[in-house]
Amino acid sequence: MSFIATLGKIAKKTYTYFTENETGKSIANVAILGYINRKTSQSIAKQSDPQPGTRITQGTGAGTENRVGTGPEINYYTVQFDPDTNSRIPVVYGDAFIGGKVIDARLSADKCKTMWFCLALSEQTGIQLSDSSASEITVKECYYNNQKLVFGSDGITVVRGVTPEGENNELLNGQISVYPFSGDSETPTFIGTKTVGNSANAYDLFPEWDTTKQMNDLVFVLIKMDYYPVGDIRGLGNWTFRVENTMDKPGDCLYDYMTNDRYGGSIPVEEIDA
């Protein structure tokens, strides 16, 4: 007798047990119900996107943590910050790539779709010793999640990102706006070589700000982002800015740093043989 015939006998005995014996019938019912429950659960889980329990930590330098929230009705990310209240505003001379310090964040009231962030980039520097002109700091380039951002004709709204490999990411189109300021809340500037851009005061743009939000002597950006998980916009993300200061001569920089009483050595001018 082949083993197939043996298997057939076992199958027949099992079938008889589950159909004719009362205990066997109960066991079969429980097993079938369990199978159906499992399949139903798997189906619900597939509909819930993203998967529950996923944690994404983003290294923005701002202490951002995004946690996926899932429920039967809502798809959102819980955005949390852990800003350092002891970090110092950096000073930029010449050309530098820097992140930013989170100063404020607000969620729009329209179904939590839009978030505003304020990032401080640099201290505003002083007068250049060489020609007695005021130093000017501009934001030349913006990078979001390692993608260089390309701005549209308004000079504010992102139309695409360019990856390090040179590929265009059109998914960012219209989802992010960047408003740079140089000096205080009332001195909007343009990004890079753009000749157009924002002209509004920062406290008129940022939700719930008033005129006491002066941001004195700071170079900063306001960022407006729409929730768009397809484009990987689920939180502040990683931001880097290329900042350029017209003060780039070594003598000017040293003199400024030695004499400034806010971020420098506060050495009296008369003690420096300039």
Binding site: V79, P83, V91, N216
Partner: protein
């Protein structure tokens, strides 16, 4: 007056002149020296900049300093003795800590007592880091006088210890700009959570 070549003298007399800018605003300046009498010197060498330094003679003692080619974190102490008890309140009320100090050296001829250099040489520039007051009580006379010791760090040492820069907290911002509330929400953001997203099915 032109500077004299000091190598031509077998010996010279040097005296130290101390200038303390007590409030760092130029309104309360203490000037004294270990010269035996009041004497006028000019930082710039110009006669219109002459300033009188009170001669304290032996009542002042200034510690030695090292002379180095590169800037170093030297410190120096100045001891003033014989300060009457009645003057102690002046010292206590003065904002001595943080005051800028310059010590000049002036050269005199040992034979004639004449000044040999037009402008004094700067020997030390620093900032008062600390001071101490000791009481010297004379039992027989039932009187007391004070000994004041000023501890002065060089500018280099002061800069090494100095912490500057605006921090991302409201107190730091208001130190520089009292009415600016821009940093007020930084501590508030800590541990705050936002549900950033869209309502997929508002009807539920």
């Amino acid at each position: 007056m032109a500077n004299t070549d000091l190598t031509a003298f077998p010996s010279v007399q040097t005296n130290l002149f101390v200038r303390i800018d007590v409030d760092n605003q130029g309104t309360d300046i203490w000037r004294f020296s270990d010269y035996q009498e009041d004497f006028e010197i000019s930082e710039t060498g110009l006669s219109e900049d002459l300033e009188t330094y009170t001669g304290l003679g032996k009542l002042i003692d200034i510690s030695r300093t090292k002379t180095e080619i590169q800037p170093s974190t030297n410190s120096v102490s100045i001891t003033l003795s014989g300060v009457p008890n009645s003057e102690i309140s002046t010292v206590l009320n003065a904002r001595l800590k943080g005051s800028r100090v310059k010590i000049y050296r002036q050269f005199f001829s040992t034979s004639t007592g004449n000044v040999l250099t037009a402008s004094p040489a700067l020997r030390f520039a620093g900032i008062i880091k600390n001071y101490a007051i000791d009481e010297q009580f004379e039992v027989e006379n039932r009187s007391a006088s004070m000994l004041i010791t000023l501890q002065i760090d060089s500018i280099v040492g002061y800069l090494q210890d100095k912490i500057v820069g605006r921090q991302t907290n409201p107190e730091s911002m208001k130190t520089f700009y009292p009415s600016d509330t821009s940093f007020d929400r930084v501590p508030v953001l800590k541990n705050q959570a936002w549900n950033f997203g869209i309502v997929r099915n508002p009807a539920g």
